[in-house]
């Protein structure tokens, strides 16, 4: 069962929920947590496991073979991303703009742009008791989140077969990185806070997930601030609210130091247990 944890707005507590939920669940079953917020992965700050594998991740980008090139300019003409440019007698490839579509490479009449591995970043696989934790981090300056997200999910599929439940910590927003991170999940938990900002961004995320045909549940974080509008919205839209987590300065302080919340805040633990119960009760076909 693959559970994506997402939110429309950044900073609502996605990572806090994913990390705490995974650790709590791993007290009784095999769990995988994967951090797909590859631009700014922060789950690793909270999990101190044993590093069992570290590997560099790559994608394919064209590389110019000067000697073979006839300077016909076809490659630059077909690239709609301005990632391949013809500068006088030189062909320049800008890997940061390349989407790895292979068009320039395969349409080159003389094969002067073979596709070669280009580093994307690193994947690290940690183990802590029954928890497998996988995070991928883009190298700075590499803007292509989607291919790394896809490859990280492939890694989890082949390397964590015994897991009973996988939690996917997704990037914020509603962009294509989020769609790539959620599209193969069985269920999406949207984390929000009960303020007008939280509500508005939640409504965007709900529209996106419905468009993808996902079943969704909401977790409301920082209950105590804001108002009741998020609850009303969920009721009107018939979206189940699986848990309500408290707003406490103590939680913010624990988070700031990179600590786990639930062993120290009883109410937070109860919220996690409520979510795990809901997940347990899901039909086994998922």
């Amino acid at each position: 069962m693959k559970i994506a944890i997402a939110s429309g707005k950044g900073g609502t507590g996605k990572t806090t929920l994913a990390v705490n939920l995974a650790l709590r669940a791993a007290e009784s079953t095999r769990v995988t947590l994967v951090d797909l917020d590859v631009e700014e992965p922060n789950s690793g700050i909270f999990i101190k496991g044993d590093l069992i594998r570290e590997q560099q991740m790559f994608r394919l980008v064209p590389q110019w073979e000067k000697e073979l090139c006839t300077r016909c300019g076809k490659c630059a003409e077909v690239c709609l991303y301005n990632a391949v440019l013809k500068l006088g007698e030189t062909i320049m490839v800008l890997p940061q703009l390349c989407h790895s579509c292979h068009a320039c490479s395969e349409l080159c009449p003389v094969g002067a742009l073979p596709m070669r591995d280009q580093p994307l970043g690193y994947l690290r696989h940690y183990r802590l008791g029954k928890l497998d934790f996988i995070e991928s981090k883009l190298d700075i300056g590499v803007e292509m989140a989607s291919p790394l997200i896809g490859q990280t999910l492939d890694y989890v599929r082949t390397n964590c077969p015994e897991t009973n439940i996988t939690f996917q910590d997704c990037p914020p927003g509603t962009s294509c990185a989020v769609i790539n991170a959620t599209k193969h999940a069985d269920m999406v938990i949207l984390v929000t806070e009960p303020t007008p900002f939280g509500l508005y961004d939640l409504s965007l995320a709900v529209d996106t997930m419905r468009h993808l045909g996902k079943s969704i549940a909401v977790v409301i974080n920082r209950q105590g601030i804001g108002n009741e509008d998020v609850f009303r919205y969920c009721e009107a839209e018939k979206i189940p609210v699986w848990a309500v987590l408290p707003n406490r300065r103590e939680i913010a302080e624990l988070y700031s130091r990179g600590e786990i919340i639930y062993p120290k805040v009883e109410q937070f633990r109860q919220g996690l247990d409520a979510i795990l119960q809901k997940l347990d009760a899901l039909p086994r076909t998922i």
Binding site: G8, K9, G10, G11, T12, T15, E39, E40, N42, I45, V78, L80, Y81, H99, S100, C101, H102, A103, E106, L107, I140, E143, A145, P172, G173, T174, S175, C176, I179, K183, E193, T195, P196, F197, Y200, D201, L204, D207, T208, H211, L212, R222, I225, G226, N227, R249, A252, E253, Y255, S256, R257, G258
Partner: protein, 290 residues
């Protein structure tokens, strides 16, 4: 006319709260919301839309079934698995299509076109603060792009010139990608809003690596500074090293969420407490600008 951009790297640090407070304080300004993925400034400024314009960006493939000869070439070359067929009907899944145009290049029957995509709308609005707001709304799965950010900023500039404003305040894009670069382009000053958490510090460092390329003078606001004095000290060291002006420490304060809940800026809900503070912040920014 000066352009000031507010960015944060990490979400939820209070960037929009700062933008809303400055919108109230700064005289003769046009606001531009370039955080189009989670554009929240309008929830405080409550704009009345004056003009709206459809926004087109990027292309996606479309197959004309009347011209398609079912040869499978397009599906074969697509690296994004965006083309599939049932019997001999070929279809593009727009959510997977990255608009590379390879299929269009290779189709022997010229059955594939690449129409520009309407990805959202761009608005110019009046606000209850008196300032104009330029903002945008993206469609589902559409990505913020340098092009949209440039469009929002350009409209803001036009509006500022037309109405004789002195400042453009830009609520910048999150992350470290192309939209942020576009938010920074042409700016006179950058305000970095951060928080003293391990994630906040790490994201600040990442976004600064990018900002530093553009040689724009920058200042930093540390929000929730009292939450973790140790990391706040680390942030200040980092600012010193990098030559970033430390503008102020803001406290961990429920007023932030209270203001959002009331749909107001901090400066409105408790003027004695916040007005002087943001006035001073603005004064130090002006000093940096001259």
């Amino acid at each position: 006319m000066k352009e000031i951009v507010i960015i944060s790297g990490k979400g939820g640090t209070g960037k929009t709260s700062v933008a809303a407070a400055l919108a109230f304080i700064v005289p003769k300004a046009v606001m531009a919301d370039c955080d189009v993925d989670a554009a929240d400034l309008h929830l405080i400024l409550k704009p009345e839309i004056r003009t709206s314009e459809d926004f087109y960006s990027g292309v996606k493939a479309e197959i004309d079934p009347g011209m398609c000869i079912g040869c499978w070439e397009c599906e074969r070359v697509c690296r994004f698995n965006a083309i599939s067929h049932a019997s001999s009907i070929y279809k593009v899944n727009p959510l997977d299509c990255e608009g590379c145009g390879y299929c269009n290049q290779i189709c022997p029957a010229q059955a594939i076109s690449l129409p520009q995509q309407m990805v959202g709308q761009c608005f110019v609005s009046d606000t209850r603060f008196g300032c104009r707001l330029v903002h945008a709304k993206l469609g589902i799965g559409a990505d913020n792009s340098g092009k949209l950010v440039a469009k929002v900023k350009k409209e803001a500039k036009k509006e500022a010139l037309r109405t004789g404003m002195d400042y453009i305040l830009v609520d910048g894009s999150p992350g470290i990608g192309c939209p942020v670069i576009s938010s920074l382009s042409g700016a006179d000053f950058v305000i970095l809003v951060t928080e003293p958490t391990l994630s906040g510090l790490s994201d600040l460092q990442r976004v600064w690596q990018l900002t530093d390329q553009f040689k724009i003078p920058a200042g930093c606001l540390i929000n929730k500074a009292d939450l973790n004095p140790q990391i706040t000290a680390q942030i200040k060291d980092f600012l010193d090293q990098q030559g970033i002006r430390h503008l102020d420490d803001l406290p961990y304060d429920e007023d932030f969420s209270q203001a959002i809940t009331l749909g107001q800026s901090l400066v409105e809900i408790d003027p004695p407490k916040w007005k002087t503070r943001f006035d001073l912040i603005w004064q130090s920014i002006i000093k940096e600008l001259s």
